[in-house]
Amino acid sequence: MEYIIILIAAVFVNNIVLSQFLGICPFLGVSNKVSTSVGMSGAVLFVMTIATLATYLLHEFILVPSGLDYLRTITFILVIASLVQMLEIMLKKVSPPLYQALGVFLPLITTNCAVLGVAILALGLEDASLLKAVFFAIAHSIGFALALIVFASIREQLELANLPKGMQGVPINLLVAGLLSLAFLGFTGLV
């Protein structure tokens, strides 16, 4: 039951993009086509889960016992950056089709603040455990995927719209994101 609540909270109520504002760069950057946004979502799901697993273990078994908690930011970003590189190399060898699908997005993910953000947020969970932290990461990446894919679908339609000059590009995208966020606000109080 607890896990279902985490899932609903992460996907709808506290959606990582639309209500916590993490991962806005890929949200605005790679959302002009549904197919690319699906690829990006897959890459985020993959990296976020493994990164949270790694950083949680690092925090629990190395940083806290040795009293180095203040090095959290530096170590986490280093682990995430090297993890992404490693994943890229491994995917290339182990599973070329998966690499074909996710490859281009992997380097972009290092500076996706959603990955670092979720890794840090997972530490603050109530009676946190490794399983819960990993599930938390998966739930948040599903929320990211939902927001990104819905937004990309709307943007594909928007291309046909006839907009005033100043409104094209950034302003209309932000406005659409705002309306989408307003729609997600409707889920408040669900859990």
Binding site: C25, L71, L78, L116, V170
Partner: protein
Amino acid sequence: MAEKINQKQNFLKGIIKDNPVFVMLLGMCPTLGVTSSAFNGLGMGIATLFVLLMSNIVVSLIKSQIPSKVRIPAFIIIIASFVTIVEMVLEAFIPFLYEQLGIFIPLIVVNCLILGRAEAFASKNTLLSSIIDGIGMGIGFTIALTALGAVREILGNGSIFDLRFVSEDANTFILFILPPGAFIALAYLSLLFNKLTLKSN
């Protein structure tokens, strides 16, 4: 003299022509995430300005020592060190702001604005130019965040910098304090910015 004009343009470009938020769309997460009041926007802007300036200085000083293959991890370490400093200073001296900004303080590390300036500017230019670039970009970012925070606070809370100008029980446009308000307010601010810059061109 030519050098001087160059530096002036270098400074001003971060504020108008290449404004990090309105033109380059860098650092959007903190821009949207912390600007529920003008004070938070200003605080975040200054914290980012500090990290950006220091990382620009250090990157520019040691640019010839960093092998180009590992330059991105090296930049990230430099930035992360200064972010840790900011995190500790804020926690010790301005705990109120530390709590308000929350997770967005450690996330300054992945603010693409800072890494972007280290990669695109500080690693190729002299120390002086990098300092001026850092200050200009930082001020441009701070102005954008403070403006967005002020708009949201005025509409959503009827106050500015915590000074209320409507009565306690007045109905304000609470939507602007909530997440959707961030997107909508920034959409109209960037529309306004586009309009002003298009006109001046």
